[in-house]
Symmetry: C2
DNA sequence: TGTACATCAGTGAACGCGCGTTCACTGATGTAC
DNA sequence: TGTACATCAGTGAACGCGCGTTCACTGATGTAC
């Protein structure tokens, strides 16, 4: 792992790519210990630098965490594009794929997922808002195509929102500890396919 | 407000009902400033006692917060019972009422809602798990009745889970800052009624 | 009814801790000549 | 190619702070006689 390398041995006084190393350390620590237990000090320890070093790259702890969230959103968006590629535009499969991608991301990076939708700030950062709008417009466009509507009208808005609510809730529920006994045996993909039918119907 | 009274003036050396006052202070502070910014010190300030006082009633900060969550779950459950009372057993209206109650609680006590489903511990506390099972069994029973199934079978399990996912997601989405522009104009109650039809259909 | 006493809720001072951030510094690196 | 110099990424020590928790204590209250 790259982190291991950067952590213990450094060939020179300068780090080379400390900004990236700090982002990675921050992400790893938040995923491992939770947002509440993350500290800049820890990130420095993991990256193998002094506690003052981060301030050459970030203005504050908050900015560091925000950068990590933004980074995660970038990865999420890329993986979404990848997952969509295999399916025909306007097909239900494409919509199901979007849903699966969403749930998968939440399971893969739970803390990033939760931070993304529950930042500390009372309002979303511009980059988050932009990313959110981008993705949600994609959803609406898919729903419009699947419904064969000429434009994003009230019907499309409603159905898109229903889909989002469902998928968002399924993701969060999957992250609740000890919830296994409430989840049905039906696989997630099947449930998603089922609900897509229901929401796109009529 | 009771807090105002207990905060500034106390007639005697003893408080009288410090445990309750601390629970209320804790809840108010968490709702006002978020879980991350809550401190025992603050709660003591608000309750008007020394910082050592809470330890006569709680073993630790964690226990205090857990007590507040359990308390909130009690209130939530009571309000659910109240909302269900007006509707005929087995009716769709009853299911819609459950959904509305869920979303309303999330809006009314966002931090309690989030804490309930995302506690710091890696596993749910027994009291939370018990409460969760209690409520979810209620949901399944309602869905069973609405579907006219003789028992809680796989079909009932699936539909109940779908409903939960939807309602849970809708709640969380309602708490995202700046999300208003993505919500359709259709009122929540109408959307809930619509999705209930879809999920109960067939 | 009055008194001695046990109880224990709340005090206030102190603790050790880890934190985020600042500061004057150092030394590796790239560039101009 | 060699040297002087500007740049600036990273150092390490220190700061002030608020925190959770402990401790010996105090004084209000209820009860036994």
């Amino acid at each position: 792992m790259a982190t291991e390398q950067t952590k213990n041995s450094r060939d020179s006084y300068h780090h080379g790519d400390l900004r990236d190393a700090l982002l990675q350390a921050t992400r790893e620590l938040i995923e491992a210990k939770g947002r509440d237990n993350f500290s800049v000090t820890d990130a420095c320890r993991l990256a193998g630098v002094s506690t003052a070093a981060p301030y050459k790259h970030f203005k504050s702890k908050e900015e560091m965490v925000n950068a990590v969230i933004a980074d995660a959103m970038g990865r999420h968006y890329a993986s979404l594009q990848l997952d969509l590629a295999g399916h025909e535009k306007g097909s239900k499969a494409r919509i199901v794929a979007m849903g699966l991608n969403y749930v998968d991301f939440a399971l893969r990076e739970p803390e990033m997922f939760k931070l993304r939708f529950d930042p500390n700030a009372p309002e979303e950062s511009p980059v988050l808002k932009e990313n959110g709008t981008l993705v949600y417009n994609l959803v609406k466009e898919e729903v419009r195509a699947a419904l064969k509507e000429p434009e994003v009208n009230a019907k499309v808005e409603d159905r898109s929102y229903m889909l989002w609510c469902f998928v968002h809730g399924m993701s969060y529920i999957s992250l609740i500890p000890d919830v296994a006994d409430k989840r049905p045996e039906t696989p997630v993909a099947v449930l998603l396919d089922d609900i897509a039918d229901r929401i796109l119907a009529d």
